[in-house]
Subunit: 418 residues, 2 copies
């Protein structure tokens, strides 16, 4: 089945917002095994919207539209789509009641034009909107399907995941099962090379996604029921596990790298602290983004000046003088000092030159040292990152989390086997 995505909104045509809805819908459609050949963006204009919808319904089986379902006169998506399918609008009592309740629980007055949102194309299915008043709509005619979704991502996403996906799967008469193998400490091209022989698989499919310092591989299968689909996914995930080993930090799509580290620490009743210079709090901020971080982090330092490195982390004056603030020796002392001063089991330290100034021939912009101390054993590594100040700091932060995770795993494996 082919799908086409149309996002409606002047704010997209003006570049005021980035089209994250298109990326979300495209990713979910690919996940559901639908083939997408076209995406488009058009404004709230009846003639141009009609043209775009007509072209899309001619060349694709399914057309998903987002945006333009609001209560104002500018919002034309529903009216235009219904006209293309020659369907009159009729009042949907359930949507009407939902709008009533939505305003009532928020103590807000309903404007007359809000009732417009309770009108749906005749014979279509209304989708409940848990975070707004505009219902989504599924309408079918002569083998073609249109799905209309509200523009705000917090309304569109749950509606698609909870209502549209089951509908599309039931249409396909199939169940789907998927696992997300998330890795750190490996580059995208290395990961792709390592699974070159697996990517031609069609059921399950294997798809790679890259983000700073991480690679995610999604394994997805279709079958008559979820259990059978899971049976197709499992051997492929096992292959990935044997190829990538401890680089994999989770197979749960909801778990982030920082979450997996916080859980690893919590499980082993360990605490961590951060000692950051150039990343200036980014590593701690990411760890603390994991719910439950309070169980493993009590405090953390941003030691930007040499004096602060000496005062809070006991970095030696001689070390700073001889090797400089950006050096392996300083990174080692920062990591050790962080553990000692806070009595934490682990400390991750970062010191580097994020630029744009401060680089020299010997120590160029992008040079970062990461130190890590776990239960008395301390290591440091030299890294070279590229890009602007923000990119270098982001890369350093990702590599620090990867290093922290590796050092904890190494410590745990040593203590378990000795």
């Amino acid at each position: 089945m082919t799908v086409e995505i149309i996002c409606v909104g002047t704010e997209l045509l003006l570049g005021n917002i980035v089209n994250t809805n298109a990326a979300f819908l495209a990713e979910r459609c690919a996940y559901l095994g639908l083939t997408c050949y076209y995406q488009s963006v058009v404004g709230d204009n009846a003639a141009r919207l009609t043209e775009t919808i007509e072209t899309a319904t001619k060349r694709s089986d399914l057309v998903i539209l987002s945006g333009g379902l609001g209560p104002t006169e500018d919002d034309l998506t529903k009216e235009t789509a219904a006209a293309v399918f020659h369907l009159p609008l009729v009042e949907d009592p359930i949507s009407k009641e939902h709008i009533l309740q939505f305003f009532k629980t928020r103590n807000r007055t309903i404007a007359d034009n809000n009732w417009k949102q309770a009108m749906i194309p005749e014979g279509s299915v209304a989708l409940e909107n848990e975070n707004g008043t505009a219902p989504g709509i599924i309408m079918e005619k002569e083998g073609k399907t249109m799905i209309l979704l509200p523009g705000p991502p917090n309304e569109l996403r749950p509606m698609f995941l909870q209502q549209v996906e089951p509908y599309l799967l039931s249409k396909r008469n199939a169940a789907i099962y998927s696992q997300m193998v998330k890795m750190c400490g490996i580059g995208e091209s290395d990961a792709e090379t390592a699974i070159l022989d697996l990517t031609s698989s069609t059921n399950p499919t294997v798809a790679t996604y890259a983000k700073t310092g991480e690679v995610h591989i999604r394994v997805t299968a279709f079958a008559e029921n979820e259990e059978a689909a899971a049976k197709l996914v499992k051997p492929m995930v096992n292959k990935l596990k044997s190829r990538f080993g401890s680089k994999i930090y989770t197979t749960d799509p909801e778990i982030t790298l920082e979450q997996s580290i916080v859980e690893l620490l919590q499980l082993n009743k360990m605490t961590v602290t951060c000692a950051e210079s150039c990343t200036g709090g980014m590593v701690a901020a990411r760890l603390i983004n994991a719910p439950g971080a309070s169980a493993v982090i009590n405090e953390s330092f941003i030691t930007y000046s040499n004096k602060a490195k000496r005062h809070y982390l006991d970095v030696k004056k001689g070390t700073l003088k001889k090797f400089g603030a950006v050096s392996e020796e300083t990174a080692l002392e920062m990591a050790r000092g962080g553990c000692i001063s806070t009595k934490a089991d682990a400390c991750i330290a970062v010191t580097g030159i994020a630029g744009p100034d401060g680089g020299t021939e010997e120590k160029p912009v992008g040079l970062v040292y990461i130190g890590c101390s776990v239960a008395g054993k301390t290591i440091a590594k030299e890294c070279h990152f590229t890009g602007n100040r923000a990119k270098i700091r982001e890369s350093a932060c990702a590599e620090a989390l990867n290093t922290l995770r590796n050092c904890i795993l190494e410590y745990l494996s040593e203590t378990r086997f000795t």
Copy 2:
């Protein structure tokens, strides 16, 4: 002049990446006064690409394409676009030399297919690519223009800003001048209401952009030369200044809020420290994202536990016991304590409940107290933020920076006039 944007790439159709090129190009085109009615995304497929380009060139004056200019056989944008304009490809000696030098300076071997990138449609203009080997291309035929740009943002963006914009302005026979009025501490709808009478202006135009905790207003004018355009912009910017006053932190598009705060501190030879609980380093990380932050920040604390709040910031045990860690009293003591223990002139403190757990009826998720101390004067404010953990922390961080800036400004105005 109407413009249409076509982004070429399977990774966009699969939702592997978000289409930031479309947003960038759309925003720049709006800035240049071009009207955009359509954007589309299509894969590397000759038939579908031909169809999309033909439709676009029929209905728009200018078509900007991004992506598909690489050296592989999959990359078809240039060949397809040239075919639509019935132009043969010819070798461009300057592009050939650029490719040669690009590989030479990087000590890399040139593959045979790289020479494909030196071929351009006959009579077209090649645009130099400072960060890659694919030249951009401007081609005109019968009153229609196509501009082909490479897909990687670090190649596309400088090429557009430095080469395409001057070309489009020269076509228009106009100069452009723009200022970006950036504000914090005001909501988008309040800002829009305050300038309702100004938005109908056509030269200069006034456009509003919202981001977390900030509102940016761009004022843009066209005239026969830059000086004349600037003269049109100036009175409008002055109107905005008189309406929004000290909420405006800059009129320079390149300056961020954190940069403006760092510069304000540096100018007044002041230092700052952060004492963060729920934001866990985000405030410090943003300040340190400003180049030159080392002149105003020596150290900063993440005091996540009660014990850390007591140890590093001298928050009283009784305060924590009586009012709790998330309270106005604790925020005040954190801010005061941060200044005292580091001898910094200013301290910004954040303590709150980011969720998903930890909320109570009395202190719900989203409750955040921000404390700020500048030169001995300390204030605290209660805030209520909505959204998930990440969103609450991001909002708290933005509000903390706004509060810090306001307290510094207040201190400076008091010391100047007394």
